[in-house]
Amino acid sequence: MSEEKKVTIKKIQATGHMRKIMADYFYEMDRASKEGSPKIAWCTSVGPAELLLSLGFLVYYPENHGAMLGSTRQAMDYIPVANSVGYSPDICSYLTSDIGAFIKKETPLSRAYEGIEGVPKPDVLVYNTNQCRDVQDWFSWYARELDVPALGISTYRNIARITEDNLRSIEKQIKELIPELEKISGNAFDIDKFRHVLGLSYDCTQLWKQVLETNMAKPAPISFFDETIHMGPAVVLRGTETAVEYYKVLLKELEERVANKDGAIEDEKFRIYWEGMPIWGKLRSLAEFFIELKTAVIASTYCNSWIFDSFDPKNPFLSMARAYTEIFIVRDENFKQQYMEDMVRKYDINGVLFHDAKTCPNNSNNRYGMPQRLEEDLNIPTLTINGDLNDLRCYSEEQAKTNIEAFIEQLESK
C-alpha cells in the first residue's frame, strides 16, 4: 500500500485551441508593447475592460499574470522580493509575486512564449476595487514605478441589496474615466463600439456559464481544476469574437461528454464544491489526488465569478455598473450563504471544501461562520483547508491531503 497510485487526468481536446488563442493574445500584446501602438491598458480582472477595448486599448490583466506565477510556482521566487521592499507576506500574494517578478525583470511569459522578454508596458492602469483594496495598491505601485496614470472605480463592499444609488455612483465613475482614457488612447469614445464589445462580453460569459453548468450532469464532465485553466479566455479575451468562438468549441466537447456519460472522474462517487481561490501551484497534485479518491470537484464560486448576466448593450453603462457590482465577492454574508446553498442544490453537492487562503481574506469565506451555518442549514459536511493562492509557504500538503482524505472517508461512512 505504500505506492501512490498513478492516475491520469483526462485531456480536454479544446486545450490546444485555448493555448493558441492565449498565445496569439500575448504575442499581439508584446508587439504593441514594442511598437508603442495600439495603446495598452492594464486592467483588474473584474474591471471595466469593455470600455477599454471599445477605446482601442489592448487589455492586459496582471491577475492572470499572478495566476501564471502561481501555477508555475515561480511565485515562490518573487514573493520574498516584494516582502523585502515592504509589501507584507500577509497581503495578496498575486500582488507580491507580480511586483517581485517585475523587480527581478522576469516573467513566466518568457518561458511560455519564445521572444517575449517581459510583461507589456502599460499606457494606463485601470482598477476596480470590487474584488479588494489590494488591486488599487498593486496598480499604485506600478503607477509610481512606471510614471503611468492609475485610474479606478471604488466599489461598495459587503452589500446585501444593490440600490439605485450604488449603481448610479458606479455608472458615474465609469463615465468619468472616459475623457482621460480618450486622451491616452488617442481615440474618441464611440457608444456603438462600446455596445458591441459589451454584447460580445455578454455572449462570452453566457457560454462560460453553460460550460460550467454542464457539471450539473452525473458524471460531471470537467473538474474545477480544469475549469480554472479554461477560464483564461473569459478573463482576458472577453469582449472579443475569439473568446465567444472558443467557448462554443469547449461547450460542444463537454456536451458530448455529458451525452456519452464520460466524466472527468471515472466512477464518480462524490461531488464537491470548492469555495475560495485555487491553490495555483498545486492544481495538478490536487486534481490527481481527487481522481484517486473518485471525487469530482465540480462547482465553485471562483469560476462563477466571470459570469456577468446583467450586461445589456441597450443600456451599457448602467448594466456594466450592475454586472460588476452584483458579483459574489462584493456582497454580504447572507447573500453569499444563499448563493452557496443554491449552488449546493443545483449541482447536487455532497460536501463543501473551503480554502482559507492566507493572503486573500476577501475570497476566504470560511472566516465568519459560513461552514457551520451551511452544515446546519443543508445538513452537509464541510471541510476547511489552510493554504494560499500563490504563497506555498502557507500550505502544508501533507496536512491538507490528510484532511481531504479523512473528509472523503467521512462521506463514505455516511
Binding site: M1, T402, E405, E409, Q410
Partner: protein
Amino acid sequence: MTNANRLYAGIDVGASTTKTIILDLNAVVLGYSVTESGADFQGAAEKTFRRSLDKIKGASPNTCVVVSTGYGRRNVPFADTTKTEISCHAKGSFFHFPYAHTLIDIGGQDSKIIKVNESGKRTGFKMNRKCAAGTGAFLEEMANRLRIKIGRLNGLAEAAKNDVEIGSYCTVFSATEILTKIRENVPVEDIVKGIFTSVIKRAMEMDPLDGNIVMSGGVVAHNPYFVKMFTRRIGKDIFIPPLSQLTGAFGAALFALAFEPRGGQNA
C-alpha cells in the same frame, strides 16, 4: 491457518511516535509497541510490528491483516490498506465509548477534534492550524526551552501554586513569553502549568466541546494532571480510553478486522 488464528494489526506512524497494536478476532489486545518515528518511518513501523508480534506466541507476520494510519501511513509497504488517523481515532474511541461523543486527540504534530454520533459515524472533525501550538511538539519545545525533561512536566505542573498566562498561538512567540517569565523569576512549576493551560486553550478554541468528551494521544497518556486541568476548565468528566496513546493504532486494527470478514477464507 484458520481465521481464528488470524491476527489484526493497526500501525499508527505518527510524526513523533509509531505505535503498533495487534488484536485477535474478538478485538482483544494481544500485543503492542511504541517507538520514536525518527527519520525512518518504515523502519519504525517494522520495529513496532515485530516487537508486538514477539509478544504473541506462535505469531508470524503472515498471519496478520495490517492497516496503517498516521502521517507515515503510506510508508508501510506490508500494510493491506491505509486509513487516515482521523477515521482510526474515531473508530478506536467509539469501540470503548459506544455513544455520541467528542474526541480530543492531542498528538505529537497535530491536535484533532472529532465528533462521533450515536452510531459511531464521524459527523465532523477539525485539525489544528499550521502552528505547532496546542500539540505535543509544543510541549517538547517548551520543555527544551526550560531545559527540563518532558517526563517531568506533569509533576511540575501539579506542584504549581499559580497558573501563568502564555497567550500566543505561535510557538516562537510563546517561547519568548516564557523567557519573560524566567526573567521575572516566576517559578518553573507555574510556567509549566501555564504551558498546559495554553495547550488546553488551543484545543478549546478549535470547536465546541459538546456532549461526552473523550481524550486520547501521547500528551494525555503521559500527563494525568493535564487531564485534570482540562476537566476542571470544561466542568465535566473526560473519558480516557485504555492505551490512549494507541487509540489511532487500535482503530486501524479494528479496520483490519473489518477488512477481513469473519467468514473469510484461509490465508
